[in-house]
Symmetry: C2
Amino acid sequence: MKTIKMSIIGLGGRGTWWLGELLKMEDVEITAVCDKFEDRMERGRKMCEDRYGRDVYGSTKWQDVVNRDDGSEAVMITTYWNDHVKIAIAAMKKGKYAAFEVGPAQSIRQCWDLVRTYEETGVPCMLMENCCYNREEMTVLNMIKKGLFGELLHCQGGYQHDLRGVANSFSRDHERAWHYLHRNAELYPTHELGPIMTYLDINRGNRLMSLNSMATKSRGLKKYVNDKFGPDHPFADADFRLGDIVTTTIRCANGETIVLTHDTSSPRPYSRGGRVQGTCGLWMEDLHALHIEGRTSGEVWEPMEKYWEEFEHPLWKKTKAADFTGGHGGMDWLVMRAFLEAVRRKIQTPIDVYDSATLMAVALLSEESISMGSATVAIPDFTDGMWIKREPGPKSIFSLSEVDDSIFEGDVEF
Amino acid sequence: MKTIKMSIIGLGGRGTWWLGELLKMEDVEITAVCDKFEDRMERGRKMCEDRYGRDVYGSTKWQDVVNRDDGSEAVMITTYWNDHVKIAIAAMKKGKYAAFEVGPAQSIRQCWDLVRTYEETGVPCMLMENCCYNREEMTVLNMIKKGLFGELLHCQGGYQHDLRGVANSFSRDHERAWHYLHRNAELYPTHELGPIMTYLDINRGNRLMSLNSMATKSRGLKKYVNDKFGPDHPFADADFRLGDIVTTTIRCANGETIVLTHDTSSPRPYSRGGRVQGTCGLWMEDLHALHIEGRTSGEVWEPMEKYWEEFEHPLWKKTKAADFTGGHGGMDWLVMRAFLEAVRRKIQTPIDVYDSATLMAVALLSEESISMGSATVAIPDFTDGMWIKREPGPKSIFSLSEVDDSIFEGDVEF
């Protein structure tokens, strides 16, 4: 089996974790590591040395790694949010597949630059939205494609996660805090919007048309700092711009609506709050329950358990994802294997440049909407009209828009 | 104990049910009944005769009943939605308290007319929003006032109820179908927005500032008619304007946000989908669960059951509401007793004219927003600026905005 050579740029917590996972894969060879902080870069080199028994190239300049002619075919980008696109563009221009962690783009122009770079170079890139590969979301996708919900009408989701600790994290390791201090927006929609885009065939016969966002006042982070560290904390008087809860509504070309919730500054249990509703029934993630006309008797909920066996996504049945305990319960492993398969076969990535640009644009658009009193703003069509006739990705790799159980057959060992 | 004399106008299903309940109350005397259909009016007279052993006045003209000098102090209005306001205004001008069932106003001017009539006559009126008196909502209100959630940030709710049967109900008994056929709006927000307004002290130190609405395509009703009755049904080709799911976001003067969902054209279990979130925790109705900082250990949900004993609203502890099996589990009984107490004492109704106008305006404003591509529209301040300094209602009757356990002491028998 062919070995995929790749480098990794950005070795904070998440990047270092990814490096460890990539080093475990028999068909992957890490050719270079990079972090702008020397200690983190050296820690990465040490991990490679321990694994390979030899030196691996390292640099504190991402340009050195991207431009290096070391036979690598791909770059994994796990830097701060702000640097994802510029590094990805440089990698694609060098002919290397670019994978980058989730996060917002910093301008709409940046999204277009990413798209134009792909169109000029033909080199794919992929926003590594792991939740697209989560077990429950993929099972719901399978149910949708099998028609259980009928014609889809409405989806909901949220990033609802108590992250108040960021208010005390203005270190080199936590970029998020700086965004919370300066930006009032749906900053982090991709964990729910990624799966929802697969449900609704976005950029493949459907598209996101317009959105508006509304934010609550900002209270949680300031309260947290004062309650926990007292009035002498450097951020005790900080003016955090991010509203504690941000609600975004989106309308799609085919008439469906989407509601997103960003809720990370308050005490609460984690939830992505998924909801999928069609003419024949609905799923509610918080309840882990469904109501399906013709299957469910009476106006009641049925537990998701009753549906796992029949509808679990083939990818979860066929692979060892469920046995993979690290990486958010297997979805990290699947999203990386999906990217690596595309690199190996030199085909399109399942989350492609148009999906990535769309996902990365939402934060900016929601910021515009909030700043204009929740005005409705148009969402760019990054496909330049191709969405009308675009088909789901090639069947040789699992497509997010269809269920294909021929994937991963025989030619990859896990 | 003083007997309250009142009449009732509109004797369809709901009105006839209300008449039956009022006839059971020892301190209420029905002086007149009205329905535009003679058979329904006569059925009401018969119910009165059976109870009182004598004739009771009846008419098919609401003007006859409103203008009658029969010593009555109040009118209960349970007609079609479109007639609520004009009958209420006539009653108030005649010096009679007006109670009307929930439903949207038909214009913003109608809301202002209601307000001006109250201000000119001094006669109160009340939109009978029963869900303000429901056990779980009142208990949540009690928790809010006791500070459990900290400073409030965000509320959600919905009218999520499979009402597809209305597509086959274009009879004299069902006005809703005509609205579904002609209007794309958040047609029925009061069951969730009523309680939310009590949580957020709306019109009493806070107010609704602006809203926007977004609707899905319309599929459910047409599908239902065709699936159930076939292509020859008179509404098999009907162009129902109402989107199947309508999402409305509202921003309040004090910086809180509200999300409402209207979802009545799809198969689903009933849910008002309540959510209340503050700086210290949140409640989720669908889960019947809470997460309260300092009480809940870990990032988990606690069942509502753990909180009932400590936080059940005094009204539910002190009255027999919980034993009252009819009328949506006691809340109907409570909302009527609240109205009757105001009539008896000649004081303000707990849901007053400003609350009623606000609640009735939302449907129209959401319709405007949808028709303008989800534009954000201003919500009128029906208090003319008084909201800034207005206090909750008098303590002698239960106030929706505060918890007062001195209510109903001794002077009313249930």
